[in-house]
């Protein structure tokens, strides 16, 4: 395979900036319909603002943050324009999220020499269509995962082509948090001291399968530079709607949600094994009074773990506050997407200074931030770098939780 990943960082913020000169500088946050942050600009992220935060949390970290609401129609139109530019190549195109997509270059390229001019042309075409504010970063490899990592490792307006012989050397030092595994699995990797893709790639297949299931085995292949997932053009097949009927009417949507999650469990397990998740869905309630209120949810990142889905849907249901008692709940129009690192922005644990790699998906970070926000620096992590040092204070140290991470 020959796969190109085209990624426009901060796509939605870039759109807002393109249309409003006053927003060109400074920290900018884009609000989703539920009031949480959909996207944070690079300046906002530098202050610690991340997607998924509430307005209050974001303002606490960045008092100068300017917030604008997302305009779904406009974003969809621009995304369609972006997809259109990629599709002009006449090749298979798979759109991942806003401002990111894959192009299957296999039919037209044989080696890196063919790819370079093609990528340059494509980059120019995207710039011409979307403007200078939305410059793409391009990454190329024989598989989707490495191509995506390559695109993330360069700044907008540049490309990184990874020949097959360099795959292991390129992927090895990148953070393991790049893997599209669920947050809990990423946290476990961190606990196990597996920080880089190189560390992960060295694990035995059997042990990875045993601990992380089929998703872990697939992730292992990705970390080793073998991505079997093809570029899938066009919309994905929508799974059948899932509906649950309750034994008795309830005014607690949480009970209905639990039943729905149980019904969704096989689908979620199947998605997780393929490193995919639910990107959005429509919830429909069947009320005792006969009404059928609806609620559309779109998630910042595709979700495949029941816990995260429960949290997101509970918040959405609480916000909707359907009146009356529920008789049943139905999930339809399930949008499926490949899991990808949150905000497509990553952190290197080492000394790498490439900006796109400095911000990471740090497992457990949300919990740490919540604790620090509530209690301040009263949580400490002990480190024992030299447990036999003759002076007590040099044996170990207590660091605040934030520093220790």
């Amino acid at each position: 395979m020959s796969v190109l990943h085209c990624n426009i960082p901060d796509f939605v913020s870039g759109l807002l900036r393109r249309g409003d000169d006053a927003l060109r500088e400074g920290a900018l946050g884009v609000l989703a319909a539920d009031g949480t942050l959909w996207e944070a600009s690079a300046e906002a992220r530098a202050c610690g603002v991340l997607a998924g935060m509430t307005t209050r949390q974001a303002r606490m970290r960045c008092p100068d943050l300017r917030l604008r609401e997302i305009d779904p129609a406009r974003v969809a139109a621009e995304q369609a324009a972006f997809a259109g530019v990629l599709a002009q190549t006449g090749l298979d195109v798979e759109m991942l999220v806003e401002g990111a997509g894959f192009v299957d270059l296999s039919p037209v390229t044989r080696g890196i020499e063919d790819v370079r001019p093609l990528c340059a042309d494509l980059g120019r075409a995207v710039r011409a269509e979307l403007g200078e504010a939305l410059q793409p970063a391009l990454g190329w490899d024989s598989g989707k995962f490495t191509a995506q990592a390559a695109a993330l490792s360069v700044s907008p307006g540049h490309m990184r082509l990874v020949p097959a012989v360099e795959e292991a050397r390129f992927l090895g030092p990148l953070p393991a948090s790049l893997l599209p595994l669920p947050p809990l699995a990423l946290m476990q990797l961190r606990w196990l001291g597996i920080r880089t893709l190189g560390d992960f790639a060295r694990l035995p297949v059997a042990a990875t399968l045993q601990r992380f299931g089929p998703a872990g085995k697939l992730a292992l292949e990705l970390a080793r530079g073998h991505d079997p997932r093809p570029v899938r053009p066009g919309p994905r097949a929508v799974p059948e709607p899932v509906e649950v009927e309750l034994d008795a009417p309830t005014e607690q949507p949480g009970l209905a949600l639990e039943a729905l999650l149980r019904a969704l469990a096989p689908l979620l397990a199947e998605l997780e094994a393929r490193l995919e998740g639910v990107r959005g869905l429509r919830l429909e309630g069947r009320m005792l009074e006969g009404t059928r209120p609806q609620l559309s949810c779109t998630f910042v990142t595709p979700l495949s773990d029941a816990g995260a889905l429960r949290e997101a849907l509970s918040a959405a249901l609480a916000g909707a506050a359907w009146p009356g008692a529920l008789l049943g709940l139905r999930a339809s129009a399930l949008q499926i997407g490949e899991r990808y690192p949150v905000q497509l922005s990553l952190l290197m644990d080492g000394a790498d200074s490439r900006p796109a790699l400095r911000e990471a998906v740090r497992p457990g970070e949300a919990l740490v931030r919540r604790l620090l926000g509530r209690h301040g620096a009263i949580f400490y992590a002990a480190e024992l770098p030299d447990p036999t040092h003759p002076a007590l204070e040099r044996r170990g140290a207590l660091r605040t939780l934030a520093e220790a991470r």
């Binding site: 040092h389 003759p390 002076a391 007590l392 204070e393 040099r394 044996r395």
Partner: protein, 86 residues
């Protein structure tokens, strides 16, 4: 329970014996008289470290009041108490 202060707490030492250990020291508002020096040792380490060289003279003493504690003398920080054993 043994109390430990990794950085040590400053103590007031007025007089030393022939081998350089305190005869008495002031700590927490009272005077403690050293009845017996149980152990003495020196460390000179970390001259290669960014955190700086450590040269210290440690003594473990028992006071007349029955306190078993470890004291150290640092050329820069003076005398400090670092442990009280229970």
């Amino acid at each position: 329970m043994t109390h430990a202060w990794p950085d040590g707490l400053p103590i007031q030492v007025e007089t030393l014996d022939e081998q350089g250990a305190p005869r008495a020291f002031g700590w927490r508002g009272r005077n403690w008289t050293v009845e017996r020096v149980v152990q003495r040792w020196m460390i000179d380490t970390d001259w290669w470290s960014e955190r700086g060289r450590l040269r210290r003279f440690y003594v473990a003493v028992i006071t007349r009041e029955g306190l078993l504690c470890a004291l150290f003398h640092d050329p820069e920080g003076g005398w400090r108490i670092t442990r009280v054993y229970d």
